[in-house]
Amino acid sequence: MTQSSVARLASVTHLYGPVAALDDVSLDIPAGCMAGLIGPDGVGKSTLLALVSGVRRVQAGAVQVLGGDIRDAGHLQDCNRRIAYMPQGLGRNLYPTLTVYENLDFFGRLFAQSQSERQARIADLLQATGLAPFPDRPAGKLSGGMKQKLSLCSALIHDPDLLILDEPTTGVDPLSRQQFWDLIDRIRRQRPQMSVIVATAYMEEAERFDWLAAMSNGKVIATGTPAEIRAAAQQPTLEQAFIAMLPEAARRGHKEVIVPPRQPSDGPPAIQAKALTRSFGDFTAVDGVNFDIERGEIFGFLGSNGCGKTTTMKMLTGLLPASSGQALLFGETLDAGDMRTRKRVGYMSQSFSLYTELTVRQNLELHAELYQLPLATRAARVTEMMTSFDLADVAEERPEALPLGIRQRLQLAVAVIHGPEVLILDEPTSGVDPIARDAFWQHLIGLSRRDGVTIFVSTHFMNEAQRCDRISLMHAGRVLAVGTPTEIAKTKGTDSLSDAFVAYLREAAGPEAATTATQAPHGQDAPKNGGGFGRMWAFARRESMEILRDRLRLGFAFLGPIILMLTFGYGISFDVTDLPYAVLDQDQTAESRTLLEAFSGSRYFAEQAPAASTAELQARLRSGEIALGIEVPADFGRLLLQSQRPEVRIAVDAAMPFRAETTRGYLQGLALSYMDDQIERTYGEVIDTSAANVQTRFHYNQSFKSVFAIVPSVIMLMLVLIPSMMAAMGVVREKETGSIANFRSTPVTRLEFILGKQLPYVAIAMISFLTLLVVAYGVFGVTVKGSVLALFVGALLYVLASTGFGVLISTFTKTQVAATFAAAIISIIPAVNFSGLLVPVASLSGGGRLIGLGFPSAWFQQISVGTFTKGLGFADLWQNHLALAGFAVVFIAASVVALRKQER
């Protein structure tokens, strides 16, 4: 491999199911320059970058990066250190609840930088990117442009040799975009040896790159400098060149977007905003916005990220009530509850918000029905939508499998299926490639000019803004300017709308946004030894900060167990008392009353109103009102006096066998004491008739009170259910939000990652354990009779096992919903039924016993009950400790095996 190429792909093919994302691609990407990948969505740009960065496993072909084979584990680890990868999506690899500084600090720790080094680097980077004034702002509250700058900072913190950026400026406003590229240029000037590979959908950005590879349909169709590519296609701009180079099939149907002039209409404006304002707490997102949009007009809405565009649009759809001011639709005040207005409006939100589990056709049908299209024309309308939005070929596919451009077309089709008069579209083309965008605009123009639909659309693309009848510029909750694109450009004395826009924003933002170029970070030092512990600690620290900021979750984690211990301590008891019973006394003699007094005097039984007939007794037993019915026959007294052993019938409700069994025991005891009573009456003294005594000694719990057995068991339950569920979210949440990329693209190992994820939950569980001890002692007076140390060590091992179990679940589930379910449902049965909580493990049979012993709960139950009530220590319980340690090791090891460092 020559020095001049940073990555070399040879016959690389990558399949997702039957679909080839990359189809036999061979490519040399030059080193030490800005290399760009251009092409529409779904052509394999992201896959290619993921393969080069090592976050995805190579399926077929060879990938050489930084002078070595990426499939070689040793070289991959080296690459993880030398490559920085910024995944697609706004701030996808950032942690929204962490502040700007904390995010960067986390990445610094991943690369084992010392405290002083991190501080210096972070200060430099923040200065260079203009983020210096906001080190304490949570990343989730940053605007899109700022998020991308922060993301870039986190990529640059370890001075990478290769910087890989996957569509870094998609969805970012022009000013931020310009600042972003200026920043990259400055950094490259300072570190000329660094190679940069970028994928982008903005052709005007690609013009400034040193080298380009144009891709289409999993293949590279052209490489070279922008000038070479333009020259080869004989087109003036890169965008046109790209379209010209496409194979005929992909280009078909593409034509220049021409906006016919609008016929002015009369009547009230379709949309009016009058001093519209919306505040969230003390933050004013939209501040006194005014504008009128006429019928049939295409009204563009431009502004930096987070300037209040989305909030304004949500107020116009009625999704958000305005704090003050008015929104009018067709001259009438917007009433969110009015179903008639809703039928006149179509809305398309910024992110994809259709049902991914329904097919394209099913999504359309659902909306047709919800919008109450007449049954007769419904099917026809669905077909019409599929034809006019070119969806017929993908009708039976699910949206998640489709490229973004097609998904957005589907969203638009859904938004217009009911023929609305007003369309509100929030960044509908963000992330969509040029051809698909043009096609999308053909539809919009058709809707406006042909059907007279009013369109209110926000965008970051200047060529789209140019097509609008009028546009408005928004910044920090206020409208800066409204007018036709030409007018707006003129006010700033320029021909270019883009320049005018940037000028407006610079003016409005003041000096604050101006980035100051400083010395970019420098200073090389080899990663120190012991980086492994540091990386694990970085993940543990980050996870802890996230939990500590989620007050609700933290509160539930600590309060839940305490509430459960209180309810169980007071509520669960196997001391059955006050069994309701009713009597049918057909005898009504002194003898029968004596017998019945034995019942009414017992604390085990509670007398209810007497019954009048056997049938009534039966009915009341059946309804569950009484637990036993006593029937004394008519001649009871006479027979008793004649020593003829009269019968007394007692029917016990055995629906709940445990209660019935206990009741039978009580009845036996009651009969015996009745007999003693009778003997005493007959003979005048108590005669002990038994041949031997049985001395029953209840060990460990002399008073035989349930609470002494319940409290240790509740601790056993709480330390498995809650920690496993919390830990189960750990990995799967990162998968869902996308920050798992940080694990894939940095030198952190699987074990470090898993332990780092697990440790905070171990700490939480141990604190919860201590609070439970306090409650056990303070409220129930239950103390640890045996070795406190044995209990503590047991709890620690148990919690390591239960959180390990949670992490294991989260390595193979895909969604948080599934992880919650799996953790709760899989752990609850062995913990409640087979752990010795209800039935001693020694009495369990067959499968139950195996399930019990195959789960940590049964082992900790021994330790918990042993130390609390039996007064035991390590000497008696060490096998249980050993078993728990074994579980912890097995679960963690299984998680390490199940978790893949590279995506498939």
């Binding site: 509520g571 669960i572 059946r622 445990f658 019935a660 569920m725 042993g866």
Partner: protein
């Protein structure tokens, strides 16, 4: 009205499709209604079964042998002999719940009428078995001693003939109880988790926003979730009753399954409503999971489906009246075990209907408020 119903129907179909598209969830539903029911019903029994007994025989007489020989399955495991010095150790380890100690010269003392003492050691931490098991053992011991000394029967027997009949489950088989109760507990768990998660998923994916700009009202969205998830659960529950409880486990069902299904529908409305209500208090799955877990555990353990309602303190019994599970368990026990009819169970059904309405309205109010609050 017609449109309202049609929207609920349509949105519900969508819910069912979502459910069908999630194989992990389907697998878990199948697991809880089949294997889990079977394992719990056959594995963990609340009555005295297989209780572990050991003995120390310092007498080695005919009588001690007879007593040991009378301790039989299924209530007790065959007793194992252990050394006197091991009693404490083995009980500490939880190896045996009961340990009998026959003193030296036990038989001789019995015959001489010296009323010797036989020691029965019970591990009182084994809550469920300790109480009833010791009563049984005492019964067995007394009977064997009586037979052995062969006294006149009439003298020791009771002056009355106490005929105790166990109704609705004559052999006191706990499989009958725990299988059905496990189905009920699973209905509770799944209803709350499925509907709550369905709402949170829509919020996290932004689809709820999409629904709210359409001519669809929150009550339609909620009712659709209730009927669709409820339907899936009720089908699973009824199949579980037929195939697992009646089929595999051979538990007879006394009352009308139709009436049971009617009551289950009421119950499902209330618990799915509760699931939505809980979901409106949280913003993410981790929060929802942590909130739902204690609620579910309390609803299941204190509803009378695990421990007898009578043994719960009265104030807590009163609190538990707010939980629909308490009424459903009472309803289900009446129908499925005792064969009760509508005339008996209507009060429980009325309360469940009331609770359904209350949860639904509370959830609806919260729904409107929280959806407006999210920016």
């Amino acid at each position: 009205m017609k449109q309202w119903l049609s929207n609920i129907y349509r949105l519900g179909l969508k819910e069912l499709r979502s459910l069908r598209a999630d194989p992990v969830l389907l697998l878990l539903i199948a697991y809880v209604f089949s294997f889990a029911v079977y394992a719990v019903a056959t594995g963990a029994k609340l009555e005295v079964v297989n209780a572990s007994v050991a003995y120390v025989d310092l007498d080695r007489s005919d009588l001690s042998g007879r007593i040991i020989g009378a301790i039989l399955p299924p209530e007790f495991d065959t007793p194992k002999e252990i050394a006197a010095s091991d009693v404490e150790l083995m009980m500490n380890d939880g190896d045996y719940v009961f340990v009998l100690v026959f003193p030296p010269r036990f038989e001789a003392d019995v015959l001489a009428g010296r009323q010797p003492s036989l020691q029965l050691n019970v591990d009182a931490t084994a809550m469920v078995q300790a109480g009833n098991g010791s009563v049984f053992l005492q019964e067995i011991i007394a009977a064997e001693i009586n037979k052995f000394v062969a006294r006149d029967d009439t003298e020791t027997s009771l002056p009355i003939d106490l005929i105790v009949t166990a109704q609705f489950n004559p052999n006191l088989q706990s499989t009958w109880f725990s299988s059905v109760m496990q189905v009920i507990n699973n209905v509770t768990i799944l209803s709350v988790l499925l509907t709550g998660a369905a709402l949170i998923r829509e919020r996290e994916h932004g689809t709820i926003e999409h629904l709210l700009v359409m001519p669809v009202s929150p009550s339609e969205i909620m009712l659709a979730k209730i009927w669709a998830n409820g339907l899936a659960i009720i089908i699973a529950a009824v199949l579980s009753l037929w195939l697992v409880v009646q089929g595999v486990l051979g538990v007879p069902i006394a009352g009308s399954v139709t009436l049971f299904v009617a009551g289950t529908v009421l119950y499902l409305v209330s618990v799915t409503g509760l699931g939505i209500l809980l979901a409106t208090f949280t913003t993410s799955m981790p929060q929802f999971g942590l909130l739902a877990l204690p609620v579910l555990v309390i609803m299941n353990l204190l509803s009378g489906s695990t421990t007898p309602m009578e043994s719960i303190p009265v104030w807590l019994q009163n609190v538990m009246q707010v939980a629909p599970s308490t009424h459903f368990v009472s309803f289900a026990q009446a129908i499925l075990y005792r064969g009760a009819g509508f005339d008996t169970v209507w009060p429980d059904m009325l309360v469940m209907a009331g609770l359904s309405a209350a949860f639904f309205i509370a959830a609806l109010l919260r729904f409107r408020k929280t959806m407006a609050a999210t920016g």
